[in-house]
């Protein structure tokens, strides 16, 4: 059925995507072997470095999460169990109900029984709340960031003048440290003098408390992060938009699509790759939201509506010296991160980009 031209054509283009010397197999061995040996000096040292620090760290951390390590002293690697995970994930059903019912509110902890692990005199709350917030923050932030970045990119792409200047301006916030931006945004959210509220008032609504408002808190954090990083999404999208042939825009116009429909149906769906690559970096930023919360709320106690796994982890580990439990939360956070990476890596693999 399939045209032989077609097949070889695709093979060839596939081949061009991969590297020249990639994809060669059998027989080629002798040279390859030489190549792989000769290229080992290139990838091996970085790999060892990453292996040692990143994966060594993770492995150690996983190990710690299985111990009862708390306070001073040394962890006892002799008795490993999943007690911490049981404590972390106690009562999942109730937690789910509570979280959904009270995403915006403050769920009384009485409804989920906190656990008392053997290594502690105090009860330990499960991680549900902070887990929920983390998911919410990551998803909300990433989606909004991409959306805003896309809109900006389209606007810039549609021929605003001084494009380079604009591009740089949108990127500027990214250059600032959280320590700085958190202070900026505390000021921006001030109900009396903050510009956000001046804006809301200009629209005819009363001043709104934002920073400690359980319904807006997480949103406010996300908003500030969006401010800081949407510029990045913007430039990635801009680049992608630039690479879509003009003829697609024109074909859609000739086909009778309005501008909005043209973007919605023809252009945006083509930005998948850009979305994925922007998402990678944006997720990395989302994982760093800890620093921002830390600076904004003056510590790792941002309150239940904005409590994320990272703040919870630091709290357990460094304030309460519950190292093992802190490590447990860190592992949860890591697994969550993996949930984002896995589809990404898989899609890359599918498209033959690995």
């Amino acid at each position: 059925m399939r045209n032989p031209l077609d097949r070889s054509g695709r093979r060839r283009s596939g081949e061009e995507e991969t590297h020249p010397a990639g994809d060669r197999t059998t027989g080629w061995r002798s040279l390859l072997r030489r190549d792989s040996v000769r290229s080992a000096p290139f990838w091996l040292p970085p790999f060892l470095l990453v292996g040692l620090f990143v994966y060594g760290g993770i492995a150690w951390n996983v190990l710690l999460s299985l111990t009862d390590f708390s306070g001073l002293g040394t962890p006892d690697y002799g008795s490993l169990d999943l007690e911490n995970y049981r404590a972390a994930f106690a009562d999942p059903l109730q937690a789910m109900v509570n979280y959904l019912a009270g995403v915006s509110g403050w769920v009384t902890s009485g409804s989920i029984e906190p656990q008392t692990p053997s290594w502690s005199d105090l009860t330990i709350d499960p991680v549900w709340n902070s887990l929920g917030n983390t998911v919410l923050l990551m998803v909300g932030f990433s989606v909004a960031c991409l959306a805003l970045g896309l809109v900006l990119a389209i606007l810039v792409d549609r021929g605003v003048r001084f494009e380079d200047t604009f591009r740089t301006i949108y990127l500027l916030p990214m250059s600032l440290s959280f320590v700085v931006t958190a202070k900026f945004w505390l000021f921006m959210y001030n109900p009396e003098t903050g510009l956000v509220n001046l804006g809301i008032q200009a629209l005819g609504f009363g001043p709104v408390r934002i920073v400690q408002n359980p319904e807006l808190k997480l949103g406010a954090v996300a908003f500030a992060l969006i401010w800081q990083f949407s510029g990045y999404a913007m430039i990635v999208y801009l680049a992608a938009l630039r690479s879509i042939p003009t003829s697609h825009f024109e074909a859609a116009r000739v086909d009778g699509a309005s501008t909005v429909r043209m973007y919605w149906r023809v252009i945006v769906p083509q930005l998948r790759t850009a979305t994925v690559s922007a998402l990678v970096v944006i997720t990395v930023f989302a994982l760093k939201a800890f620093d921002f919360l830390f600076s904004m709320y003056g510590g790792y106690q941002p309150g239940p509506s904005a409590d994320i796994l990272a703040t919870r982890m630091v709290r357990e580990a460094y304030a309460n010296q519950n190292w093992a439990y802190g490590s447990t939360i860190a592992v949860v956070l890591f697994v969550m991160a993996l949930c984002i990476v896995a589809p990404y890596i898989y899609s890359q693999y599918q498209r033959g980009e690995l």
Binding site: M1, N3, L5, D6, G9, R10, P245, S247, H248, E250, A251, A252, R253, V254, D255, G256, A257, S258, R261, R265, V266, P269, Q270, R272
Partner: protein, 384 residues
């Protein structure tokens, strides 16, 4: 279906304060209802710009474009009822073939879904791409993509087709196939078509008429054979035909044309056509040069520099003097069975009936070749 009229159409690109580019310069032409017009010209001559103005993708600086009786200068592209096929096909990569074809119908008409589906199926079967309907463009070969792009244009049942080098991304064999197919479909649908190409074969074989553009100025509009045999000027003569027409700069001295290396006596009739012009260019097509045995009035001694055998014919590069490193040559096409070898002397006969003479200053054709009476070419010329 409607005629398409360009009246004094001009397009100037001006980049703010920078000097402006006149891409299209007062083009006047009419594409008749159902006609297939091929627009040719060297790169950058304004072909695409002309097409894009017709499509509404580029504003018209001056002049008027009419589709039927309707002035469409200021009509939005979507409302012109014109379909365009792009060189790169411009298929939406994320949509299946079916979605690609439905898109225009959904966006520009109020058709019900079922009707859209039926129309798409119908056009697809016309193009022979029914089996491809659920594939993505990336899963199609070049030729299949081409067919889909065409299908996408057809499905909207437009009043005019515009095509910008639609076959240039295909390989030779496929191009030949698609060429005839495209012609067939256009004939079947009878839709007014403007087709941009820089491929000689396409230009000669596909169109009812050719429009030759150079530097934004229309040089000639005529049937392919008219342009081939009766070029309006030296540019058209040189541009149409491959290998190109050979040109020799000559000076008229009385009834003789004097070139660097030969003297060419003219008949009375030819002489009369030239008026006062003395600075001329003599043009002759490679296939009109005959290699004969004896030098004569119109036959000159030359040396064969290079022979390119093409199977069915040989391209002989002849020169008057083979001593230089890079000798000036002219080409003669001789039959594939005729034995010619590089280095061998040859007598090139330039029959007077086959020569063209151009005013060297203006390029205007003063005299075109004789054509056998009563043949198709002549008829076509007369009917214009």
């Amino acid at each position: 279906m409607a005629a398409l009229t360009l009246a004094d159409v001009t397009k100037v690109f001006s980049d703010g304060s920078d000097d402006a580019v006149i891409a299209v310069d007062g083009v006047d032409m009419e594409i008749r209802d159902g006609e297939f017009l091929v627009l040719v010209g060297p790169s950058g001559c304004g072909k695409s710009t002309t097409l894009r103005m017709i499509a509404g993708l580029e504003s018209v600086t001056q002049g008027e474009i009419r589709l039927g009786d309707r002035r469409i200068n200021d009509v939005a592209p979507a409302d012109r009822n014109i379909a365009m096929v792009f060189q790169s096909y411009a298929l939406y990569p994320h949509m299946t073939v079916r979605e690609n074809m439905s898109f225009g119908l959904e966006e520009s008409t109020g058709m019900a879904d079922a009707e859209v589906a039926a129309t798409v199926e119908e056009s697809a079967s016309m193009m022979g791409i029914e089996e491809l309907l659920d594939r993505k463009p990336s899963d199609l070969s070049g030729g299949q993509q081409q067919r889909v792009a065409l299908g996408r244009a057809i499905v909207r049942d437009p009043e005019a087709f515009l095509m910008d080098e639609p076959l240039s991304n295909l390989d030779a064999k496929l191009r030949a196939t698609m060429r005839t197919e495209l012609q067939r479909i256009q004939e079947e649908l009878g839709v007014t078509t403007v087709y941009v190409t820089h491929d000689q074969t396409e230009a000669m074989t596909m169109g009812d008429r050719i429009a030759v553009l150079d530097e934004g100025v229309l040089q000639q509009v005529g049937t392919p054979l008219e342009c081939y045999h009766e070029p309006a000027n030296r540019f058209v003569a040189g541009f149409i035909g491959e290998p190109s027409m050979n040109f020799f700069d000559v000076e008229r001295q009385g009834t003789r044309l004097v070139a660097d290396r030969f003297d060419y006596p003219l008949s009375e009739a030819t002489h009369a056509a030239l008026g006062d012009t003395t600075e001329l260019a003599l043009g002759i097509r490679p296939e009109d040069i005959e290699l004969v045995g004896e030098p004569g009035d119109h036959a000159f001694e030359t040396v064969v520099d290079v022979v390119e055998p093409m199977g069915d014919a040989n391209a002989c590069y002849l020169t008057f003097d083979r001593s230089g490193t890079d000798p000036e040559t002219f080409v003669a096409t001789v039959g594939g069975m005729q034995q010619v070898e590089a280095g061998q002397p040859a007598v090139a006969h330039l029959p007077e009936s086959a020569i063209h003479l151009f005013d060297r200053a203006t390029g205007e054709a003063l005299r075109n070749r004789d054509l056998p009476d009563d043949d198709g070419v002549q008829q076509a010329v007369r009917s214009d």
